[in-house]
Subunit: 342 residues, 4 copies
Amino acid sequence: MRVGVLTGGGDCPGLNAVIRSVVRKGVQDYAWRFVGITDGWRGALNDVTMPLDVPAVRGILPLGGTILGSSRTNPLRLEDGVDRIKNTLSAHKLDALIVIGGEDTLTVATALSDAGVNLVGVPKTIDNDVGGTDYTFGFDTAVNIATEAIDRLHTTAESHKRTLVVEVMGRHSGWIALHAGVAGGANAILIPELEFDLDQVCAWVEKRFEINYAPIVVAAEGAVPKAGQMVVKDESRDEFGHVRLSGIGDWLAQEIESRTEKDARMTALGHVQRGGTPTAYDRWLATRFGLHAIAAVKVGDFGTMVALHGTDIVRIPLAVATRATKRVPPELYAEFDVFFGT
Amino acid sequence: MRVGVLTGGGDCPGLNAVIRSVVRKGVQDYAWRFVGITDGWRGALNDVTMPLDVPAVRGILPLGGTILGSSRTNPLRLEDGVDRIKNTLSAHKLDALIVIGGEDTLTVATALSDAGVNLVGVPKTIDNDVGGTDYTFGFDTAVNIATEAIDRLHTTAESHKRTLVVEVMGRHSGWIALHAGVAGGANAILIPELEFDLDQVCAWVEKRFEINYAPIVVAAEGAVPKAGQMVVKDESRDEFGHVRLSGIGDWLAQEIESRTEKDARMTALGHVQRGGTPTAYDRWLATRFGLHAIAAVKVGDFGTMVALHGTDIVRIPLAVATRATKRVPPELYAEFDVFFGT
Amino acid sequence: MRVGVLTGGGDCPGLNAVIRSVVRKGVQDYAWRFVGITDGWRGALNDVTMPLDVPAVRGILPLGGTILGSSRTNPLRLEDGVDRIKNTLSAHKLDALIVIGGEDTLTVATALSDAGVNLVGVPKTIDNDVGGTDYTFGFDTAVNIATEAIDRLHTTAESHKRTLVVEVMGRHSGWIALHAGVAGGANAILIPELEFDLDQVCAWVEKRFEINYAPIVVAAEGAVPKAGQMVVKDESRDEFGHVRLSGIGDWLAQEIESRTEKDARMTALGHVQRGGTPTAYDRWLATRFGLHAIAAVKVGDFGTMVALHGTDIVRIPLAVATRATKRVPPELYAEFDVFFGT
Amino acid sequence: MRVGVLTGGGDCPGLNAVIRSVVRKGVQDYAWRFVGITDGWRGALNDVTMPLDVPAVRGILPLGGTILGSSRTNPLRLEDGVDRIKNTLSAHKLDALIVIGGEDTLTVATALSDAGVNLVGVPKTIDNDVGGTDYTFGFDTAVNIATEAIDRLHTTAESHKRTLVVEVMGRHSGWIALHAGVAGGANAILIPELEFDLDQVCAWVEKRFEINYAPIVVAAEGAVPKAGQMVVKDESRDEFGHVRLSGIGDWLAQEIESRTEKDARMTALGHVQRGGTPTAYDRWLATRFGLHAIAAVKVGDFGTMVALHGTDIVRIPLAVATRATKRVPPELYAEFDVFFGT
């Protein structure tokens, strides 16, 4: 049996842990051969590969990044994209492919699976917004990094009686903002799923100052105020109508400062949330996803994705996973109302 | 409405986060009054309490320990224990009690509930071995601390080509050992649920040296070798027949060194695993447990315990939770076979 | 003996450690009384104070921020500033004042000392640019936070073969950039002390890609390119001619991306570098500074500042300390040439 | 020019950082060739070497341990030890040797230098007890690990009103204990340089309980009580008369518990203090030591050791460095009296 492995999309702590457990399980228990496809779908299109054996995966469990490289190349935009990938797989006599990636990467995988490629998906995103799985690896690491940053900002906010706005990752979903905001004791949490009311945010900020504390506002990069509150030019919005990265935090800090007449500062955590060593949770989840991906290949259960349900790793159809972005449910967000502004 | 809160048993990161969310939800949303019962059941027996209002819980979310204090006092061992606790609750006109604790504490809670006390339980243990809930808060923190220690020990093991044995907490269950061992890339993981074979462990160690790497052996403090392999005097065993704390790691290092004729060293992480600031995951879980405990009190669903099922917080009968210690299932342990000795 | 204590300027990990050791030494060894002056010089101007005794300083050693509050208020800009401060000191019958602050705060202290106030200075700045002392507390914490961020960014840079620009604090000096850049293995380090050549930076970036690695560029916020390379409007420069905060990193990433035709991304670490728990080194240094400030007050050696020389704490005239910003010497910067671009 | 490099003695964070900067400076600036001598003096005796070029040192800056391996082999105990090492150096046509190690390793280096070998020493020890240098790399990392552990233990001590004894490394010197104890806010710090009085320690413990806090006692592994207070059999003492590793902490916890009649627990941090990624400070110092060792070789200043004086790296005769262990001066220890027992 010969199996290809590729990682696609943005960086995410735990990718190497998946690669390691895939290779070790496949080689040691079944004597399979592996081929590393480099830089995501780009390597699959252009037939760029690397050797992938047990020595190659030694010591990579605690390392961030991916030894295979990654890219955001989307082969479905090319007329012959699917054929070129199939050619690459044939050239290397690959019986199966393990695809580790987020929504975009898995959408390609779904198309390839429909086109007859034997593959198994492994969900990956720091944003936690792939459907069908309780959590994805990388998310816990991102949340811990953001929480630690919020912990640090609290003391500065208090010492200077300032508002501190923290912009965290999440263009389409607010999972990181909600988890880190709750864990960090934020006084307002703004997520893409629910338009926020700037008047309400400023009222929360004022209330916090009134009890002689300083407010922390956590905003996902995709958070948007309700219609009419933000006057921005068209060219600073992206294709989804969201304000561009580094936009919302800056804007919030300026608005809050001018309305409350108290200093406000902004920090955008940026790529720091995507890299470096994974937490124990993410290493555990990534390792198990890798082992169960091999189990799926072993029994030929292709067109599926491994997923976490409670404490079990299960397999679900790829199509289910990529049907829609998993968003924060309003009732979960509402659980934490009590902490806002106080 | 007047509600008492107590924390019992060993220290556990996240206790303060539960107390904070309980008090803030109860006071801010329902205008309830709270009474803090100090040092677990000891305070309940002796009527020692402290004020517990919103100012008292400010800033405690990231702090380890419990502002209420704790103890291992078991009132069921006193003839009049239950009555004295009921008297304390009456004296303070408490309508309900929120009990945050592990197996022992919740067993007392079950007895009190049977005796007519209106109470809701919140499961707490770094060991993750309370039944009926996917996870308990404190566990993730303990696993991360142990994993970070293993990461550090790897480099020393390699530089000196030594075996390093890491003894982690877990007298009756191997959850910390298994999770930290997998996350830390251990070459052998020994848990109380499964007797280990010292010959097998030494074979794993030797195999690791053969490929020119150095082995890390993670052992739960309650791990035991198969019958006959350990010759220890009765007085160094506890009531369950387990070797006492700080025993198994020492013993393993000595045996491995003498059998493999290569240096072996031992580190027992000890109480460091129990204290300090909780991880983001534990703060999130503890905060939600607190909010849902208030929800249970609000609707009068007493005799229950809040629990995590997947991503939902549910309520289960206290009796279900305390029926048996939750142990590592053999099939979960077996998933990681491939990493042992290699 | 009655002693006032104030903290001024930007937030800095270790302020609370100084306050704690000052109060504990003064109270426990000499039975002095302390008065906390709140929010830096603002409290001194407006006679706003708080009690400052041993219970008030318990538990604050590991906490970031300052329990006294801080501000950037400069009393020298007010005609009657010095007199109002002297009145406050008289009103509280203060025999001496301990002033913990950076360049601006200590410049005010120097003026007050010249005007007859008995005071001792304690240098504080995460930027490490106060003269006369080897290091200031807060700096080590900032450097560690920045280094950890660079560690994380390396894996993302490699996985995506991108340039990552990290903007760290330092408007007038490059100490954080240099230390964190060296510790984090940066491929280019840009500091305010030396104009950089954008062509050179791009050459370093290209060289790094050629050997199949991805470059990390660390830039102090006050770094400036050589004349003519940056075309910016006057209004985006500050009074010193430096590009404003969040300017240089953004600009660099855009220029590097457009010149090298490879993706470049930017992260500005911002206020995360200023807050939160101090490192062991900063707690040690801050604690010793506090103890030695009390020793100076004890012997009446006013108009001085405590300073670190090697492993000794010494006292130097305040005027020496505030004469000039301590900048990175060119020969120190040159030591690390070998790591640039390779 | 051909240069050998070896690392000797116990593990220490920063070894790889030295190796990296030595090789990069030598190769890139002077086109020298390097030979890695494996496992300290053992490799030098037995002519076991490994290639050491720029690709070999890529990515090792943040890694603990040493890619060259280490050992505690002492060639001076062999009659022909020096000759065998000289033969190995000749066989590889080495013009110079860079020796990275602690007291033992540098004592061998001194003898070899006296015997005509061209070498430069780099001091290494987590214990900070090599003479002639303000600090050694590895020490700051060890102190931070110990401080973080103390931070965690505080909350458990408070929650349970227990004494917690923390045993840290330091058989012959108390640098780690003193720095971590001060940074962690310990209530008693016991170091090998000064016999402690158990009655005094218990008095401090009692005093701490009286003000309703719980005590943390930090003890270096080489701390000893005054004559007569400890009754231990000869066989549990080492060659220096010190109680063996894991002895003093255990003994203290038992004595304190039995004398104060309050629970006491012990944690021995062990090898966790020696491994893993170095702090920013240690990476900076190790990198500079490596660069300056190359500078010494370049000018032929052999028989010297690089050392830190203030913020300068200087060269001192090897003999000066190895003359005596650097111990904590009594007056430095006395600075912190005020924190003991309170």
